[in-house]
């Protein structure tokens, strides 16, 4: 009998084993890195990359992540379909984040629209300390995903982002370079997890690994 006595622990173990491959980290890190590079390219080339990069990246990165899960994770650990309960929690979180994102977008619109007529004081403060709010937002989002997905390292990424952005605010480091830094750190962490995962779950020999004998 295993040490994990409760159903909740077993469910968590199942979920975590499927997400300990480091792929999520690599792709989130790549996203941040590419976003930062896009903003730098935007400044250098005056192309407007930064504005459209998020949408391009999601369209490119998401299918690659799904394919990487299929080619790297599934052959090593097998295939599992999680129940609706876990998916519902994640869906609720993503929906909440989308609504929050729309709220931020509207705030930004208010910021731009009130430039000529005089901004409300709370909008000024919000955007004066924008980097700190972004860092706080990242910490909160990281913690929410960590709680929902049971991946504790996401707490760490959120706190690291907060620390970097707060430092960046006081040291006047441009936003895009902070993205490069956080992206690189998360990619490195993901790569280390991937190596560890591949060692822990080597590819099974032969075709009998997935067949009831």
């Amino acid at each position: 009998m295993t040490k994990q006595n409760t159903l909740r622990e077993i469910e968590k173990k199942a979920y975590m084993s499927y997400h300990q491959d480091g792929l999520l980290d690599i792709f989130v890190g790549l996203y941040a890195l590419a976003f930062g590079l896009g903003m730098i390219a935007d400044k250098m080339l005056e192309f407007g990359f930064g504005a459209i990069m998020p949408a391009i990246l999601v369209a490119i990165v998401l299918p690659i992540w799904i394919e990487a899960k299929r080619k790297i994770t599934m052959p090593r650990i097998g295939f599992v379909k999680f129940g609706a309960r876990g998916s519902n929690k994640l869906f609720a979180l993503l929906l909440g984040l989308t609504v929050a994102g729309l709220g931020v977008f509207m705030l930004f619109g208010v910021f731009l629209a009130t430039g000529q007529i005089g901004r409300p004081w709370w909008i000024e403060i919000l955007f004066q300390y924008g980097m700190i709010w972004i860092g706080l937002g990242a910490a909160v989002i990281g913690s929410l995903f960590a709680y929902t997905m049971g991946l504790k390292r996401l707490h760490g990424y959120g706190l690291l982002t907060l620390a970097l952005f707060v430092s960046g605010y006081f040291l006047s480091i441009p936003f895009e370079y902070l993205l490069l830094a956080i992206g690189s750190i998360i990619i490195a962490s993901g790569a280390a997890l991937l190596v560890q995962f591949a060692r822990r779950y080597p590819l099974p020999k032969g075709a009998q690994a997935n067949v009831v004998q």
């Binding site: 199942a14 097998g78 599992v80 379909k81």
Partner: protein
């Protein structure tokens, strides 16, 4: 027969065996899983896992289906409705028995 004796007699012995209980618990928390995933989660040898799965399948608690996921064949294992109900009943009976055991 005391009520606690009756409770322990009602415990499903097929599920109560530690390896099969582990299998049932792991399948209970997911919609379905393939053999490889279940083997990793339970740390059982392929032969041992196969043997216990066959017993659970014969009892109608586990369903084994061959399906394709992204053009790759997989053997999907899932608890049947009968299996889920049996597991829930097992949990109730064990809890009822444990609650009656004096400190």
């Amino acid at each position: 027969m005391s009520s606690s004796d009756a409770d322990i007699q009602n415990i499903d012995r097929l599920i109560h065996e530690p390896s099969r209980l582990t299998i049932m618990m792991n399948l209970y928390v997911v919609e379905s899983a393939d053999f490889q995933f279940l083997q990793h989660q339970t740390d059982m040898t392929p032969g041992n896992l196969s043997s216990h799965l066959r017993k659970l399948e014969d009892a109608g608690y586990v369903e084994v289906t061959k399906e394709f996921v992204n053009r790759t064949p997989h053997t999907a294992l899932r608890l049947t409705r009968k299996g889920r109900e049996a597991f829930k009943e097992y949990r109730r009976n064990v809890k009822r028995f444990i609650d009656k055991v004096p400190e």
